[in-house]
């Protein structure tokens, strides 16, 4: 047991626990309303939204898995950098439209939007189902992040993990989105300090960047020409998938103004820089002679590196940064999944006439169930299952892009065509991942004798889009009823006033 590290860790963890509960009183609202619990009332300004989205998108698992990939597989793991470079220009163009239309109509989930836009229960259910399905294993992997850093401090057994999760569940239930928003400020500060220290101290101790890169075997240092297409498609596909995840959308919809979303896309790349430095930690671990651990494999690289390079108390600080870094996304993910379940499954299919307070109670309970499920999964199923499912999650969630992303621009794609395309994409993408034995999300597509390795999610999305486009042409030509669009052109660029423009409950 590493007591100096553990003491620092526990103090910081207690601090954020308190913050999580205090958050309920911050920018006080009626937490008996799902808009207040699940979106923080949509009152977050530029700075809080920056911390919230940064803390939400760059998860603890990312901080463990990206350097682990670089450590184990080399340069291909660096695709995280182009991925998080191109995601912001893309989101800058698309997401303000979602924010505006959501604010005009009181939508709190992507499925709410799809339902209003396409007048289709089936399509909305598909979007909600995909969102929940893709989010669950992602929550489970945040637990893996906590598990790894606990192990690095010499703590084993399930109890500490259960305690950490009970704390997370309690403050999320109590404070809703306000809790991760407030904790994100602390979390990101800890992460920035950790990475700043790491990028200065570790290269000095290893004899400079020249020595670090010289220590990396040539096969891991640069991409092989056969990897170029995989690198590019992984970056592009991941970027297109990221903001289809319910937790990303929840972060966006929590913003106070349309301008807050737009402005943040120019500021969020600061986190990409951070992620790039974190990816380099994989090479630093190679240069420092870190060996993969039997239980955690390459995921051990960063914790082991920190233990080797930092004094114990600062290692504890860094581990706290990672563990707290797991709480923020896990909390937002469970809120987003709960919002989807409540709005698009419970209210849609079980209690059409549920009151506002019943709605928020169901959401709070659902957030507990989602997290409980993730915890049970991690405790009783092999970690590899969660990793495989999360890999599939990316393949699945991108299949909602035609309905959500393209739907924000045009309604030309027909609702039944979108639903069919979605089903084709889900099936094909899952099959591609399965056919690789989950060892990689890269699928070697054969075209005319050439094999082009590429991200399975992107290939499946292309199939989805082709099917959706062809069928839309057929359905539109045959005048199959396209339903009523509840949204108007102007809704997509509206600068809605402060506060949520929602139904009678807030009027």
């Amino acid at each position: 047991m590493n007591w100096p590290a553990l003491s620092v860790f526990i103090v910081l963890f207690l601090l954020v626990t308190v913050l999580g509960f205090v958050a309920a009183r911050w920018r006080k609202g009626d937490l008996g309303l799902i808009q207040e619990w699940g979106l923080g009332g949509g009152r977050f300004g530029t700075i809080v939204t920056w911390f919230l989205l940064g803390g939400d998108l760059y998860t603890a698992y990312t901080f463990i898995a990206v350097p682990a990939l670089v450590f184990g597989s080399g340069a291909i793991g660096f695709y995280a950098l182009p991925y998080t470079i191109i995601v912001y220009p893309f989101v800058f163009a698309v997401m303000p439209r979602l924010w505006s239309v959501a604010r005009c109509h009181g939508y709190i989930t992507p499925a709410d939007f799809v339902r209003g836009r396409y007048d289709s229960h089936g399509l909305a259910l598909a979007v909600a189902f995909t969102g929940i399905l893709a989010t669950m294993p992602y929550i489970a992997l945040q637990l893996v992040g906590i598990e790894v850093v606990l192990a690095a401090m010499g703590i084993s057994g399930d109890l500490p993990l259960i305690i950490a999760f009970a704390i997370l569940a309690a403050f999320t239930y109590f404070s809703g989105l306000r809790a991760p928003a407030l904790i994100a400020v602390v979390k990101d500060t800890l992460i920035y300090v950790t990475v700043l220290v790491a990028v200065i101290v570790i290269p000095i101790r290893l004899g400079g960047f020249g020595h670090i890169f010289a220590a990396v075997p040539p096969a891991k240092l640069l991409l092989a020409p056969g990897q170029y297409s995989a690198y590019a498609t992984l970056a592009l596909g991941s970027a297109m998938a990221l903001f289809m995840y319910p937790h990303s959308i929840t972060g966006v919809l929590g913003a106070q103004r349309r301008d807050v979303v737009r402005r943040n896309m120019a500021f969020l790349p600061a986190y990409s820089f951070l992620l790039g430095v974190i990816a380099l930690l994989g090479y630093m671990a190679i240069a420092a002679g870190v060996k993969p651990n039997a239980a955690y494999g390459a995921q051990w690289a960063v914790p082991a590196l920190f233990n080797m390079m930092f004094p114990a108390w600062f290692a504890g600080f860094a581990f706290a940064a990672i563990a707290i870094g797991a709480l923020v996304p896990a909390s937002i993910m469970s809120i987003a999944a709960a919002n989807l379940f409540t709005r698009n499954i419970y209210k849609e299919y079980f209690r059409r006439d549920c009151t506002a307070s019943q709605e928020s109670t169901v959401a709070k309970t659902a957030s507990l169930v989602v997290k409980g499920g993730a915890l049970l999964f991690i405790l009783f199923a092999p970690t590899q299952y969660a990793i495989n499912l999360q890999l599939l999650g990316g393949v699945w969630i991108i299949q909602t892009l035609p309905a959500i992303g393209i739907g924000l621009y045009t309604r030309w794609l027909h609702r039944y065509a979108l639903l069919t395309g979605w089903a084709v994409g889900m099936a094909l993408g899952s099959w591609m991942a399965l056919s690789q034995g989950f060892k990689s999300s890269v699928y070697p597509l054969s075209i005319g004798g050439f094999s082009i390795p590429g991200y399975a999610a992107l290939y499946a999305l292309i199939a989805n889009l082709v099917v959706a486009a062809i069928l839309s042409w057929v359905f539109n030509a045959a005048s199959v009823a396209a339903g009523t669009d509840k949204t108007q052109q102007a809704d997509y660029t509206a600068e809605a006033p402060v506060g949520l423009a929602v139904g009678p409950s807030l009027a």
């Binding site: 340069a75 950098l81 470079i85 191109i86 893309f90 640069l222 020409p225 592009l236 790039g276």
Partner: protein, 59 residues
């Protein structure tokens, strides 16, 4: 949003998806191979371009 703003937003895609243009190790900068420092540089360029697109379309 004006056409110009969309062009600014497309530049990072063009740069980052043409992998062969930056997949080499030379020229290194302070011991860091080209492949790495070039992509770090693009984090900054891309942020500036998005910032410009924001300025160009702010109401």
């Amino acid at each position: 949003m004006s056409r110009w703003a969309y062009v600014l937003l497309l530049l990072p895609f063009a740069a980052m998806l043409s992998v062969p243009t930056f997949a080499s190790g030379a020229p290194a900068l302070g011991g860091i191979p080209f492949f790495f420092w070039y992509q770090f540089l693009w984090v900054i360029i891309s942020a500036l371009l998005t910032g410009l697109a924001y300025k160009a379309t702010v109401r």
